[in-house]
């Protein structure tokens, strides 16, 4: 076995084992196959959903919400974080409020969002935007504030003014920390999405999971769950890639 093959085998061994357990336990009657059908049945249902185009429609609806909220969060939280991090008095002043919000679970506010923005797309995108904003905001603030003071001192000694100091030292130094926030936000965007789609949605994977459960289409429910985990996994993987690309210098 080559090294690559061996590594691939080791990485997928646990997954294969999980699949085998999922397949055999219901077949042996160890768990009730009505509530947990064997994996192959779930995969067949998944394929049917794919063939009829339903899966694609729901995935599209979900991704659109997720990515919109995520992108809006990046667009607002990064500039805001840079501002708060840069003006120390502002950061000190806002800190208690930030702590309070950061420790309030985003989903606890879902009813508030629905109350104010209704059951439509706006409230769904808004709750995702909200949940994604926190890790990005807090990490951006931390990134700006934790720049090595010696680098700042050295740059100041060369007569750099505040704007240039920010552009040439603070900003590049904060990039890896900001990316950590973006990666966390990526995970949140999927987590919150599903919950939001279980309330008053007409499409989306969260809706599909809920709808299938209510109608006792258990295989469809599991098919949707698998889809969402794979989606989350791929999203996270691509963000990790991107993060690594932007912080190669960080390896010490």
């Amino acid at each position: 076995m080559t090294a690559v093959a061996r590594r691939a085998f080791r990485a997928s061994a646990a997954i294969v084992l999980l699949a085998a357990v999922w397949e055999t336990l219901p077949r042996l009657g160890a768990v009730n196959p009505v509530f947990l059908p064997p994996l192959t049945e779930v995969l067949t249902a998944w394929y049917d959903l794919l063939r009829t185009g339903q899966l694609l429609d729901h995935t599209q609806a979900s991704l659109l919400r997720s990515l919109t909220g995520f992108a809006l969060a990046i667009a607002t939280a990064i500039p805001l974080g840079l501002l708060i991090g840069w003006y120390r008095p502002l950061a000190g002043f806002l800190n208690p409020v930030l702590e309070l919000f950061r420790n309030t679970a985003a989903l606890a506010l879902l009813p508030v969002f629905v109350l104010i923005l209704g059951l439509g797309e706006t409230s769904k995108v808004a709750i995702i935007l909200y949940a994604c904003s926190w890790p990005i905001l807090l990490n951006t603030i931390a990134g700006v504030r934790n720049v090595d003071p010696l680098l700042v001192k050295s740059a100041r000694s060369m007569g750099l003014n505040a704007a240039r100091l920010f552009q040439k030292v603070i900003l590049p130094a904060a990039v890896p920390t900001v990316f950590t926030g973006i990666r966390l936000a990526g995970a949140y965007s999927i987590l919150v999405l599903i919950a939001a789609e279980m309330v008053g949605a007409k499409a989306g994977l969260g809706y599909l999971i809920n709808y299938a459960q209510l109608n006792f289409r258990v295989t469809d429910m599991y098919a949707a769950i698998i889809t969402i985990s794979v989606l989350g996994l791929l999203f996270n993987l691509s963000l990790v890639r991107l993060e690594r690309r932007f912080s190669t210098w960080r390896t010490t």
């Binding site: 010696l150 050295s154 100041r156 000694s157 060369m158 007569g159 750099l160 210098w249």
Partner: protein
């Protein structure tokens, strides 16, 4: 006179109290144009504080500091600083780090690259221009930092224990290199060190500081008949060394 300290004092506020802590008091010191002056003193006596004042990063509480007869007003590119911990930008390659000071100076891009290459070459790092700081050894990083400070061509080079973190062999070769560069460029150098040997080896004059609050205790002229061969084996070297050692020891054991 290139640099003049006139009765300079520096006090730091003490947290949660109205008192201030005097780090420097009545410091008077002249540094000649093109001179290599080393500064030794016990830890905490205010050497770095003195350098910060000279670099314009902080202001003295009393007295004044003149460069070419004019009072220091903030930092400027007429002074280049080399720190003990290198202070290289980790996301920039060696070459881009050397270019940093040139950007601050407003040198055009193409000229910048050329100059940066020249100075990397001067410190013997021609083949390492594309490396990031974390891919360089401690000695190489310090060379990049020195090249960066030389590149924007300051009149004065301020060095705060730049070789303290290096092993003996690397330190000695960098000391030699620094002397060579100093002779070639004619810059005024103020070099802080803990090491008596280093102070004697590098300095034309050695300023010995005392603590509590920091003052200049003596300034010693150092000269050798010849710098050929192993300078450290010269009997004069031993004498200077002993003299400074005695001064610093008296400092450590309070008299009377």
């Amino acid at each position: 006179m290139k640099i003049q300290f006139r009765d300079v004092g520096k006090e730091f506020p003490v947290r949660d109290s109205d008192h201030t802590f005097p780090a420097l008091s009545g410091v008077t010191l002249d540094v000649r144009e093109g001179e290599f002056l080393t500064l030794v003193g016990p830890s905490g006596c205010g050497k770095s504080t003195l350098l910060d004042l000279l670099s314009g990063l902080t202001e003295p509480t009393s007295g004044e500091i003149l460069i070419d007869g004019a009072p220091v007003e903030g930092p400027g590119l007429d002074r280049g600083i080399v720190f003990q911990q290198y202070a290289l930008l980790p996301w920039r390659t060696a070459l881009a780090n050397v270019e940093f000071g040139l950007e601050a100076k407003g040198v055009p891009r193409t000229e910048r690259r050329e100059l940066a290459r020249h100075y990397l070459d001067l410190v013997g790092l021609r083949d390492f221009e594309a490396r990031y700081p974390h891919e360089l050894s401690g000695g190489m990083r310090q060379r990049v930092a020195i090249a960066r400070s030389l590149a924007f061509d300051p009149d004065i080079l301020l060095m705060d224990e730049p070789f303290a973190a290096l092993d003996a062999q690397t330190r000695e070769s960098l000391q030699e290199e620094l002397l060579r560069i100093w002779e070639a460029t004619g810059k005024t150098v103020v070099f802080i060190t803990h090491g008596i040997d280093e102070a004697v080896y590098l300095g034309q004059r050695v300023a010995v500081m005392s603590a509590g609050p920091g003052r200049i205790r003596t300034v010693l002229d150092v000269s050798f008949d010849s710098r050929e061969g192993d300078l450290r084996a010269d009997p004069r070297f031993g004498e200077y060394r002993h003299e400074i050692w005695t001064l610093l020891r008296e400092e450590a054991i309070p008299v009377g």
